[in-house]
Amino acid sequence: MDKLNTVESLLPGSGQYSCKQDLRLSLWIIVAALSYALGRVFLREYPALSVSLRLGIALFPLIPALFYVRAWGKFLRQLDELQRRLQLEIWLFAALGTIFINVVNAILSENGLGWPLFSENYLVGGSYFVIFILWFISSYFSNRRYS
């Protein structure tokens, strides 16, 4: 049987935190974020590139992002039944929370009161930041509830 994963291995301060496990899971999203940032700079500096090349550079971060999703899928498959259920609840909370915050921000933006974190310059990064924070908070409380 494969070694079981635990959510605590991703939570610094939990006593079971594994930097290696965390990095294995986060590596692809770091690559995606870097390629996204570099792509933005590159496309701004060279606006005369062909459409197909611009499209390729703009969409390139989706490739490491898909690897990130794949890594999470693998991680989830190696959790036991309780932790898998917890993760589904945690991700649902994080996703719905992020949608809610984005909707609130959209309403505020219409009135000129939007948060800089969600301005059009940071929309992708801002949303990822929020989903990560919500995932972390929800993981912490879920683990406390069952430990």
Partner: protein, 64 residues
């Protein structure tokens, strides 16, 4: 749902971690079942019954 997992585990002098290893789940799951915070799936309940060589209804109390 109430259960007698803690007593059965103690009778066998197993730690939560040792039982978790035998079941292929985390210690957190064993603890959550013992404290009644989580009801196991049917396959896991059968694994427990097999491990303790008892019928499921002797481990889990549906009334509880």
């Amino acid at each position: 749902m109430k259960n007698h997992l803690r007593e059965l585990r103690a009778d066998n002098s197993w730690s939560q971690a040792a039982l978790a290893d035998q079941l292929g789940v985390s210690r957190q799951t064993v603890n959550a079942i013992e404290t009644g915070k989580y009801d196991p799936s049917l396959p896991l309940a059968f694994k427990l019954a097999q491990l303790f060589e008892k019928p499921i209804e002797e481990i889990f109390d549906a009334e509880g």
